[in-house]
């Protein structure tokens, strides 16, 4: 249905984003196709190397899942930081990605963790890395009639450090002004074995630059290296202006928070 008549049909999961857009007259679908009653789309499954999260799992379900909390603590943390409890109880993780709102918490964390989406459509199923899914402001790589069915997240090796900092410049219930997710693992000699940093809510898509991290591999993660990486991210990202902060301001906050995230000196919200 959605593929046949994409202009007049919208797929709805929790509805926290779509209903707002409809109320504001931004979209006016004649038909809403609910995913709610499709079985097995809201479970969270341990698949050994990975955790598979049903796209219709609510943000609360993800945040409170013992499996996610133990295997993917930064994701659990980011889900706890989304909006407020009323939204979290209804909004879904798949919907969050499909909406592709830039001012959002989970995408940056999922990218830092190397997650990908299982997508189903009339042409068959495929997988898309979350990093490639969000292509612009409210736009994704999803084709007409395609839905995200699962978000598959690799479990970091033990000894890996992962965190998410949600920085809100205004009220505690605000969307992020800047969100920084990082994950790093260390070799037995204490040097960096792997490193990933993704910055959300500052540009149309989450910002992550593996090339800026290549030189760090093999080095020790100390103050000056963290500062160097933070500076590289702050220089590379071209942030947007909105009511949560100007582009100039976001650059300053990126510089401060990438460093904090790497050094793990602060965990997220108070």
């Amino acid at each position: 249905m959605a593929a046949d008549d994409p202009l007049r049909s919208k797929i709805v999961a929790g509805g926290t984003a779509l209903v707002l857009m409809m109320r504001q007259g931004l979209v006016a679908p004649e038909r809403l196709i609910a995913l709610k009653h499709i079985p097995d789309l809201d479970g969270i499954e341990d698949r050994g190397e990975v955790v598979a999260i049903g796209a219709c799992a609510t943000v609360t379900t993800v945040a409170s899942s013992p499996l996610v909390s133990s295997a993917l603590p930064s994701l659990a943390y980011a889900c706890r930081a989304v909006a407020n409890v009323r939204v979290r109880n209804v909004a879904t993780l798949g919907g969050n990605l499909a909406e592709a709102d830039y001012a959002s918490d989970p995408p940056a964390v999922l990218i830092s963790l190397g997650a990908f989406c299982e997508v189903a459509g009339v042409e068959g199923a495929r997988t898309v890395p979350v990093a490639d899914l969000i292509t612009g402001l409210y736009t994704t790589d999803l084709q007409e009639g395609e839905v995200i069915t699962r978000i598959v997240v690799p479990k970091p090796a033990s000894g890996t450090r992962a965190n998410y900092i949600k920085y809100k410049s205004r009220s505690s219930e605000d969307r992020p002004c800047v969100g920084v997710a990082s994950i790093s693992s260390t070799s037995p000699d204490g040097s960096i074995a792997s490193l990933s940093v993704a910055v959300g809510a500052v540009a149309p898509t989450p910002q992550h630059f593996p090339d800026l991290l290549e030189d760090a591999i093999g080095q020790r993660l100390d103050d000056s290296l963290a500062e160097e990486i933070a500076e590289a991210y702050a220089s590379r990202i071209e942030p947007m202006d909105d009511l949560r902060g100007s582009a100039w301001y976001r650059t300053q906050v990126i510089r401060a928070l990438v460093k904090r995230s790497l050094l793990d000196t602060e965990v997220g919200i108070r």
Binding site: L20, R170, S171, E173, L243, Q252
Partner: protein, 747 residues
Amino acid sequence: MIGADLRPTDAVERVVGTLPFVLDKKVEGMVHAAVVRSTFPHARIVDIDTEAALQVEGVLTVLTGADLAAESSIDPYFGGARKDQPILAIGKVRYVGDPVALVVAEDKGQAEEAASLVYCEYDELPFVESIEDAMVEGAPAVHDDYPDNACGWGKLRWGDVEQGFDEADLIAEGEYMTPAASHVPMEPFVTIAEWKGNKVEVWTAAQAPHSVRRTLASIFGLEQEDVRVQVLNLGGGYGAKGQTKIEPMAAVAARAVGRPVRLELTREGVFFTIGKHAARIRIKTGVKRDGSLVARLVDVAWNAGAYAVVSPRAVIQGMARAPGPYRIPNVWVDSRAYYTNTVPTGPFRGAMTTQVAWAYESQMDEIANQLGMDPLEVRRRNLLREGDLHPTGQPMHDVHFVELIEDAAAGIEWGDTSDVDLPPNKVRGKGLGVIMKSTVTPSRSEARIELRDDGSVVAYTSSVEMGQGAATTLLQILSHHLGIGTDSIRFVHPDTDVTPFDLTTSSSRTTFSMGAALEEASVELKHELTDLASSLLEASPADLVHEDGGISVVGQPGTRLEYLEILRRSKIEQLDAEGVFQSEGGLDPETGQGVHTIHWHQGAAGVEVEVDLDTGKVEILRCHGTSWAGRVVNPLRARQQNEGNVVWGTGLALFEELVFDEGQMVNPNLSEYLIPSILDMPRQITTREMESSEPDAELHGIGEMVIPALPPAVGNAVYAATGVRIVDLPITAERVLRGVMARRDQS
């Protein structure tokens, strides 16, 4: 009863959700209206095409301003201070959100759908958005009748400021800005209007039912008796519901379709109905080396928005409050409002005071800093004391500013500078603020009470319960003066057919003014009872005493007659009494001299903040709010009021701001216009509701006395922590960080 922690009479109903609101009210046969709003800040209306809207199923009519203008029996303009606001735009629109048409349909969904199908063709006009835009010579005029966009001018002239500046050792000068804001009452504007013959009845969420009645009578050319306005509990008002707002729209719609019409605004519609005055405050102060103030010049420019509402009067309030609670021999204030093509503005909790207090209390710390004095000391040296003259020439009475500022300081351990172990990117500081606020004068409140022969009392007042606790407070006051238990007293909801005149439930006046009217009614009722008892007991009235709902001959408790026995034995079913509170005053329009307020409201705040030097983010660690209550009627409610003040003030200090761009309101929703949540609260909130030792001390309203002191206290604390002086509210993280980095660059 005064001084007792009586549980709010409506506590259970509030918790279980049965408290009645107009929002829940249904009237037999009612239909629904939806508003079509302007999408341009300033434009001539070329054409309004209602064809498509009228085709929608269930639509009964679509009204436009032209329809109303053509109706000779209606005066389509209204306004509290000037009749400049059309019920629906006539000829041109003056702001984004200005109502241009009204759709009436059988159900709300149909009305809203049809509203989206009303097509308006406009011819755009140049517009003015800011105060600066509006005051420039040759600026586009929002109203042809006011070519210079002037919307009221208050002048205060006291002493000789130029001479004062000559005598000063130090001149402090600054410009401070405060933004527009939105009241965000939980309950939106909602009105049901119904015509019964030539009479109109409305149910509405309004703070001043008698004012709404007067306005509707004027619009329709009716006697006031032919307009009935009924109010239930309000889901918050904060000044937003203080004057007539959507009632005329509902009433014209009901008249057009001949059925009861309900109009409930969307949240966006609430944002588009009324806001808070943005203000630019320039303030110049002359100071002696010892810290004493000798002259102050204040120039306040208020952004009135597209319609006057009450701005021409409100600027006078702002004018009198602008010098602050200080003893200054030479004062000159100009307080001017300007029309702009933005949402109309009106009083906003802490009304016409948060703006000027932000300026004078920020500057007070700058003065202290320049003199190398303690900010507490420089205030203490200058604060108004009993018997001092206010710059309006009015002698100060019942003033306690020194006690308040000392309490605010003590509440945050002002002198304690002991080191706390903080990470290198965090700093802490403390700040103070103290303010004065007047209450609307002259003003009038009337109360009527009925004692029935079953011993019960029914009280009729037009005071509105809007969550502030008036229902409980007034009940306690009446119970106290009558000597009758609260269980035997019932208050009725405001209903202009039944409850007598009251100016308004705002300006923190209800406890004092309606309290006084109820006291007078109680005295009157007791007189009547004394007379009756005097006959029954064959005793001189002078020998009779009232105690706990009964009368006896002094020294002879055996003669006691309960009130209900007095009525029964006198064969009277019901005894009525009335009480009136009336204050007098007024200022000379050229000099501002005269009586501005029957008494002064007083509050102070002390805060401690922690600032993140990497992000500029300010966290309020603790806040102590304190205000002068005179006598506390209900300690729990009084404390909750002051705590609510801290919540309200926190938002204004840190992030509340209505943003405009190219004439459009950028954030008319609760996703982008943020109000404080529980997680934004200071880690510690303490309050004090200061009382006199006199048993009959004057009651003071305390609904909004900490609020204006809080933003400057936070600004001063940020300065103490970082050396950065923020002059524009709100104190955003970005502004603080810019200041921190500029200082870093300098050193």
